[in-house]
Amino acid sequence: MKIFDRLFEQQARQLAQRSSRRGLLKGLGGLLVGGAAVPLLPVSRVHAAEKPMDKGDPSSCDYWRYCAMDGFLCDCCGGSANTCPPGTEMSPITWIGTCRNPADGRNYIISYNDCCGKSSCGACLCQRDEGDRPPYRPDKTNDINWCLGTESAAYHCSTAIVVGVAFEET
C-alpha cells in the first residue's frame, strides 16, 4: 500500500511542478474562446437557409407562397398557411411546386397540402395557377381533389408549406 502512496505523491508533485494556476486559466480561456468560435466555422447551414424571410399577408391571395394555389386559403378558415383548421385532416398526398419569395429573390419548394374532412370552407378563394399543368401531368395539376390518403375525400381548404430551397444549377 505504501508503494501506491509514494507513487501518487510523486506523480502529484511532478504535475504541480510542471503546471501552474495561470496555465490552467490559460487553457480554460482558450477552451471558452475556441468553443465560441466553433459556430463560425464553415459547416453546413442548409437548414438555416431553408427558412425563408417571410413577408406578406397569408390571408391574401397575393401572398408569395400561393403562386400555384387553386382553392380556399386555410388561413381564412381557422387554420394557417401551414396548418389545417380544427376538425380537418391534412392530406399526406399533395402536389408540389416552387414559388419565388420577393423578400430574398430565391425560389422555394412549396407543398400545397389540402385539408379534408369538412365541406368547402368558402372563404378567400384563391386561384393563381402559376406552373399548373394539364391533368395528363397529374403530379403537377391542381385541378384534381388532393384529398387522397385521408379518411374523408371532402375538400375544405389548402395550405402552402415551405419544404425547402429550390435547387438551381450554377
Binding site: 399526406p92 398526398i93 399533395t94 402536389w95 408540389i96 411546386g97 416552387t98 419548394i109 407543398s111 401531368r137 403530379d139 387522397l148 390518403g149 419544404v163 425547402g164 429550390a166 435547387f167 444549377e169
Partner: protein, 141 residues
C-alpha cells in the same frame, strides 16, 4: 509509368462520378417529383407503397431493378435519364435502410435510357408477382 496512368484514370473516373452525382439536386428532384405521394421520409401513404426500408429489396433480381425504372412515376417523369438515375440512387441511399446490400450497383443514365422505354401499364399485380419472386430469390440465397 503504369502506376501514374492508373492513378490518373482513377482520378478521372472519380471526377466523372462526382460530376454525375449531385445529392442536393437529387433531393430537390425527390421533393419536386416524388415526395408529393411518397412523403418526405419515403414512408408512403395509405395507397402508396413505402420506399423506406423496402426499396432495396427490388435490387435483388434484375426484373426488380428494372421495376423501379419502369413504374410510371419514374419512366414517364419529366426528369432526363441522368437526373432520374441520380434521384433513384439518392432514394436508395437515403431510404433503403437494411433492405439494400452495401455494394449495390448504382443506376446509370444509359441503364435508365434502355429500361424506361418500357413503362408498366399495370403496376399492382406486377408488383405482387415481383415481390413473390424476390422472396423466393432471398430464400435461395
Amino acid at each position: 509509368m503504369k502506376i501514374a496512368l492508373g492513378t490518373l484514370w482513377l482520378c478521372l473516373s472519380m471526377g466523372a462520378l462526382a460530376e454525375k452525382m449531385n445529392w442536393e439536386r437529387a433531393q430537390f428532384h425527390y421533393r419536386m417529383f416524388c415526395q408529393g405521394c411518397h412523403s418526405p421520409d419515403g414512408g408512403g401513404a395509405t395507397s402508396v407503397p413505402p420506399l423506406k426500408d423496402n426499396i432495396g429489396y427490388f435490387l435483388e433480381i434484375p426484373a426488380g431493378r428494372e421495376y423501379l425504372v419502369r413504374v410510371p412515376g419514374s419512366a414517364t417523369s419529366a426528369l432526363n435519364d441522368g437526373n432520374l438515375a441520380e434521384v433513384l440512387n439518392w432514394i436508395i441511399s437515403e431510404f433503403s435502410g437494411d433492405s439494400a446490400g452495401e455494394n449495390y450497383e448504382r443506376y446509370t443514365a444509359s441503364e435508365i435510357s434502355r429500361v424506361r422505354v418500357h413503362p408498366l401499364d399495370e403496376v399492382e399485380h406486377y408488383r405482387t408477382k415481383l415481390l413473390a419472386q424476390i422472396a423466393a430469390a432471398k430464400a435461395r440465397n
